[in-house]
Amino acid sequence: MKAFIVWMVGLATVVPQHAWSGEQASLLEKYARQARQESPDFTVFQPQRGELFFTSRHSGGKPDTPACTTCHGATPTSSGMTRANKPIEPMAISKTPSRFADPDKVEKWFGRNCDSVLGRPCTAQEKGDVLVYLLKQ
């Protein structure tokens, strides 16, 4: 019981409170649990860190996709374009309310896109940071 209370209090501080759907909230909870396992130093997801991660050029991935914004558009509220020239709807939840509602879809694309941009899987902290950033837009 004590462990549970500690966990609940921990969660309340890790995941800032917003009116997100149940799916989005439980996805963030899952990433928070994983992030704590991956690094004992992890405290909370930070939208600023997510913004930096999402908009920076990285190395290690494919040369023609150095950043998330290569495909997703310069800002979260603008549309993007796939490598096959199909438009991608904005990532900002305010523009595309259906975003991040299907946990399998989110995991599928983090898997593909992190590999394209970084040449490695994203950490749980990176995923959580990006999500809280985009869910605030």
Binding site: T82, R83, A84, N85, K86, R112, D115
Partner: protein, 162 residues
């Protein structure tokens, strides 16, 4: 008007209607877009969902075995999903149940040929020959022959005539 004459004119009208109807169907063939949910979900995020009818079974098998390097992208799927989609695409292929629509796309291909692209088939190249050589694909903003909806604005609904 004699009885014979009426009969004759009726026949004439009927055959004219019939003729224009087949001609119309010829020029306005529509390939009904796939509704197989797992395929729609897995294969229409990056580009329009290409109709299974436009390639032979052998092509779909090869494409679905190489999703880890799919035209430079990673399109890998969980094994169960991959198999289900492969079954659908090979069943509806141009040399399968999709024969009625697909036959012409397979013209010029030999038994066992497995082109990886619709845009590489002889039929496609013939229909787009002038455009390909003139480099119009770049100029018209489609960027690539694979970007069907850039020129065929109703491709996603199954229409491909100009």
């Amino acid at each position: 008007m004699s009885h014979r004459r009426v009969c004759f004119s009726l026949l004439l009208i009927a055959s004219a209607l019939l003729w224009s109807d087949t001609a119309w169907a010829d020029r306005h063939e529509r390939i009904p877009p796939a509704t197989h949910a797992p395929t729609v979900k897995a294969c229409s995020d990056c580009h329009m969902l290409y109709p299974a009818e436009m390639l032979p079974k052998a092509s779909w098998e090869k494409i679905m075995k190489n999703l880890d390097n799919h035209f430079g992208e990673t399109a890998t799927l969980p094994e169960g999903e991959r198999q289900e989609i492969t079954r659908y695409l090979t069943r509806m292929a141009g040399d399968g149940d999709g024969r009625a629509w697909g036959r012409k796309f397979l013209r010029g291909l030999s038994e066992g040929d497995a082109p990886m692209r619709i845009s590489e088939t002889p039929y496609f190249q013939r229909k787009h020959g002038k455009k390909l050589s003139a480099g119009v694909f770049k100029k018209e903003g489609s960027r690539s022959p694979a970007n069907c909806p850039a020129c065929h604005l109703q491709a996603a609904q199954g229409w491909y005539e100009e």
